[in-house]
Amino acid sequence: MTMSDYKWGMAVDIDACTGCQACVIACAAENNLPINLERDFTERRAIAWIRIERYWEGEYPNVHAYFLPVLCQHCGNAPCEPVCPVYATYHNPAGLNVQVYNRCVGTRYCANNCPYHARFFNYRRPTWPETFHNYLNPDVTVRERGIMEKCTFCIQRINAAVRIAKRTGTDAPDHFMTACEQACPTDALTFGNLNDPNSRVSQLFADESRAYTLQEAIGTEPNIRYLKGVATAKAGSDEMAAAAH
């Protein structure tokens, strides 16, 4: 199988999400994210490739919290791609938005044009305490100061799985997970190959009554769909907007 036989996607079940943030931690550990200090949060420069957005609905005491895990949507028609002057972000054959760290000069135009706020800039040189040096994932590049980074769908795991599949001659390697999916206690995140109609993620995508994409009106054609069990699931993006205000 070649790379273009895969189209990676993810289904996010909002009804299942409890907002526990395990995915956020798992992602940081897997992908060598810098450690976010208090200062990074107050300056609003924290880097978290997946984040849980929390929206409140209703008046106290009848309050309901929504949790919306947002990560790079790996758009089919990505606004971030054409605006990069140096091709540091591009679309790979497997449907991923790939960030090439070495090419990036840090214009941050991609981040401005991302409707999902899914791109992060390294304002500081990432540092880790001495004791953490052996903890870093050797499969993932440590990013320099002054470049953009974002969710890669754990591309190191994808590549490893595809390599193994190629070597063993098996079909779609649907048995590996991204870090966030692996950490999710409620199975809210489901990652897989969208080109395989039997994969779990394809079946979830096909769920007309629940699946929608975030900010559909922008026409980004994301590879992530959100699942929400309400009567007006199709109008979900509008509803999220309404909930947001």
Binding site: N77, P82, A217, G219
Partner: protein, 467 residues
Amino acid sequence: MTTTHNGHEAPGAPATQEELTQELIHDARQTGPRMRRALWILALLTALGATAAILMMLGGLDDHTRWKYYAVAYFYVFSLVMGIPMAGIGLRFARAQWRRPTSRAAELFALAGPVMLVFFLPIMAAHPGLEGRNSLWMDWRLGPWFPDLIMLTAFVCIGLAFIYVSVLPDLAAVRDHGNGRSRNIAASLAYGWIGTARQWAMHKSALGILGAMYISAYAMTHTVFATDFAMVLTPGWKDPIFPAFHAVTGLQMGLGLFIVVQFALRKWGGLARYFELEQFWAYGRLLLALTLFWFYFFWSGFILFWYGRLPHEQQIIALLAFGDPAIDNLLARPQLWMFVGAIGLSFITAFLLIMWNPVRRSILGPAVVGVVIIIGNFFDRLRIYVNTWSIEQVGGHELHEIPTNIGYPGLLEILVFIGMLSAVALMILLASRVVPFVSLWETREALLLRVVRPFGVGHAHIVAKPD
């Protein structure tokens, strides 16, 4: 060829104030039998057009899609004629000397105002209202009818006031030097103008103020018309440059028509010495600038819709330019053909012609380009108004289907179109029976301000610049 007082050869211009008065007040305003016949035909066509408009109204105002060709006719004629006075006003502000013999012919087009006001009433009544639509007027119940009518009325009144003030000294000249019925009309209109210094000072500041008001009213009327009668009817179309595009294309086609009118006055009006190469060359340059503006304002909107790739904006591009992408046969996309006609003639052909100095620097060149632009912009108004008035869907943030029910104009619509044009021509020709097509006071002022003196080895024109 006449010769100026110091023996310098100059094409055409009368040498003395007396010659000028003689020619403009007596010779140029003879109403011959041919003119009489033309006036009658125009009056007949106007009456037919008005009748057709009434018949259309009797046919029903509920379904706005039936009015699309009326909208095209109205907004085309409106854009065509109401911008022409700007040629006089703008160049007076710019203190361009060469415009002096031509200003009057441009400003007379402000007389088209009442015609535009009358023919506006049916289209206003046919407007489907704002319910469920985006609009500038928020949820105001009277919008768009009330504000647009007020705007147009103000515009027309300013135009009439302007042309009246502008011709006032000439009316007095006709009163003093003219004869016959036109003298009596002029005498009653001139109202005590005797040309004191105080009157001239007031005249100058009134022209300044009214001119500035005309420019603002022109921009604002185009803005509300373009918004309320095209953009509002199209779900998902938000395009703040479009009103400016509408206004600029109005100027371009107006100038195109004006150059053609000058050509006609030169050829058949016996006014060749006033509409000289110098004027055509200068207006040709302006036409080049406005042609480039046509493209710039179009492109400013188009590139963003095209580049942004937002679904609702792609639909607008389909509606106004490329047609429904679902139709593979390009010949079967009417929108595409209107668009090709518009940009092909108004910009590409016009630009490729007028960009050459030999074309600009001729009498025929700018006139031919003027004709091309007039036709091209007809396609442009067709593209805008037919397509938007064919949409039945009300409201929403996205246009769901590109209308296919374009159809062809009926006899009534064609009669209305011809009627509007005839009415405008009739107004101007009638006015020209009282005041000359060339402003007497501006040309007389020009004679005062220009001098030919020896300069170096030859002679040079010296233009006085009073403050």
